[in-house]
Amino acid sequence: MIGLVANESMKIYSRKLTWILLLLLFAITIGSSILGTINNTNATDWRAETTQLVHQYEDRLKITELSPTLRTDAENKLKIAKYRLENDFPAPSNNPWSALLTFSGLIEMVIVFAIVIAADIVAGEYTAGTMKLLLIRPHNRAKILFSKYIAVSLFAIVMLALLAVCGYATNALFYGLGDIHTTDLFLNQQGQVVQLNVLMQGIKMYGLSLFPIMSYVTLAFAISTVLRNSALAIGISLFIMIVGNSMIEATAKMEWLKYLPFANSDMSLYIFHLPARPEMTLNFSITVLLVYIVALILLSWNVFKKRDVSI
């Protein structure tokens, strides 16, 4: 099995496309880190500034047609800002750990790139005709299929790690290495203000993002296996991802949508206490995603083991 995964990894990393994606990931991560540092200025008088922020959030909450997510976001930020003033707790000075928490959006990029590779890993072998020679070896088809799945999952993890490491390194150039004991204020699941270690929150966010990443990888992989067409697999997966992001808002109004993977696929919502519906918890989202992952794997496996290979 290790040999098979090594084979699949060799195929992934021998392709030019893979290196273009990795290079893009590298460039975009560094680029947005630099942009982040430019926009960020260290406050001279944090009290005055926080008071100003409180007014800003209060004004925003007066807007009646504010979307539920934005409203919750403003409420959360207001709560934390007020807590800071009342308890004399300034935001931590600029450090790479806090900065890493701000680019949760880049995780979406990891998802897109992982989709591109996952969509091709099975379908590509059919298109190139190499599936025939791959399947006439003394390994059952389940092993061949899962070695591909494992290889593409490892690739996604490599990209996520690269994102975190690059992001940290670039920010460290500007802010110094940062104290790993840096703490900041967050809201817990009950909506109370708590003081938590920033590094731990970062690890939690990136770690948890593996669930949505794997959901999309599995989706693209399953479409790739069932339809044997990589373009279609990329297209459908990206479409679902884009539609899915807009579904988070809709979930607030329609309860049944919470059982679809969309509203469960942004883990940063839980770090920043912005669940799509108040009753949704982190464990609920993880469970929903796992159910979809397992279902899609079973589907791929069933189709793959039975199929007559005649191209």
Binding site: I136, P138, N140, S310
Partner: protein, 308 residues
């Protein structure tokens, strides 16, 4: 020949929907023989090969390789098989060597030395570290053969193996396959439409038509089937009439003459000396006696025409 055959077809059948693609194939292939699989396009050759290597399911019946069923005991059966199915489709973005390493990792016991050895055998040593996309069709074919032989299979299946090879390459491959079969006791199963090639390469041929095996016999029997072949006797043209009369006394039919001085007579091989003696004794000057060998191609066309 009393050992178990390398391949045993047991009433193998493939149905897709209502159409029967391959119908009731039953024959054996022995170790050490080169078996040619002939048939017009669409006869079911590739479907048969795909069933042999487990790429498609057998609807009914079974195929055993070294006694293991390809459908029920896939891993044990396929371990003995090396194959190229249709085109030698390899990973174009990998080098030749990486391709071989890839397949070597999938079978236990293929060492680095074995990879080097096989690269030498197929004559790709100079280009093995180049990407496959830079290879010519002939080189891809060689690499395809290399991956098929990597794990020393007992059965080698090649679909149109001479495709894209130059005459020297074909000659080399033919000799290599023969040596592999006759010296190392590998069963070689070759499908081809290049009949002249098959004639030079195979020990036995099977003809598939509309999914059915219509003929299976040794290549000599196949070509010389029926015993009599056409004999062309060239004599001094002024003596043609005399010769005709003489041959008529043997109650032999004479076919229409194509050129002055030529006589075309269907004869069994052992009758040739008799005819020769008769003409000589009559003082007829004979310039040549030629047996017009019927080629596999003639035979094949004849066979497939009459069944249409």
């Amino acid at each position: 020949m009393n050992q178990t055959p390398v391949v045993q077809f047991q009433h193998a059948m493939k149905r897709i929907g209502k159409r029967t693609i391959v119908n009731d194939l039953s024959f054996d292939i022995q170790a050490g023989e080169v078996f040619g699989f002939l048939g017009p396009n669409g006869a079911g050759k590739t479907t048969t090969i795909r069933m042999m290597v487990g790429l498609i399911k057998i609807s009914q019946g079974d195929i055993l390789i070294k006694g293991h069923s390809i459908s029920k005991d896939f891993n044990k059966a396929i371990r003995n098989v090396g194959a190229i199915v249709e085109n030698p489709d390899l990973y174009k973005y990998l080098t030749g060597y990486q391709n071989l390493k890839h397949y070597a990792r999938m079978v236990p016991g293929v060492t680095k030395a074995r990879i080097e050895e096989i690269v030498g055998i197929v004559g790709l040593r100079d280009r093995i570290h180049d990407k496959v996309k830079t290879y010519s069709l002939g080189m891809r074919q060689r690499l395809g053969i290399a991956q098929a032989l990597l794990h020393r299979p007992s059965l080698l299946i090649l679909d149109e193996p001479t495709n894209g090879l130059d005459p020297a390459g074909i000659h080399e491959l033919r000799n290599y396959l023969k040596r592999l079969a006759h010296e190392e006791s590998v069963a070689v199963f070759v499908s081809s439409h290049l009949l002249s090639e098959m004639e030079l390469m195979c020990d036995r041929v099977g003809v598939l038509q509309n999914g059915k095996l219509v003929r299976i016999q040794s290549i000599q029997d196949f070509v010389h089937d029926g015993g009599s072949s056409l004999v062309c006797v060239t004599v001094e043209s002024s003596q043609v009439e005399q010769a005709k009369r003489l041959i008529a006394t043997l109650k032999k039919e004479i076919l229409p003459i194509r050129q002055p001085g030529q006589l075309l007579i269907p004869l069994n091989k052992d009758e040739i000396p008799t005819v020769n003696k008769l003409l000589m004794q009559a003082g007829i000057q004979i310039y040549s006696i030629q047996v017009q060998e019927q080629t596999l191609e003639d035979k094949f066309l004849e066979l497939t025409e009459e069944r249409k």
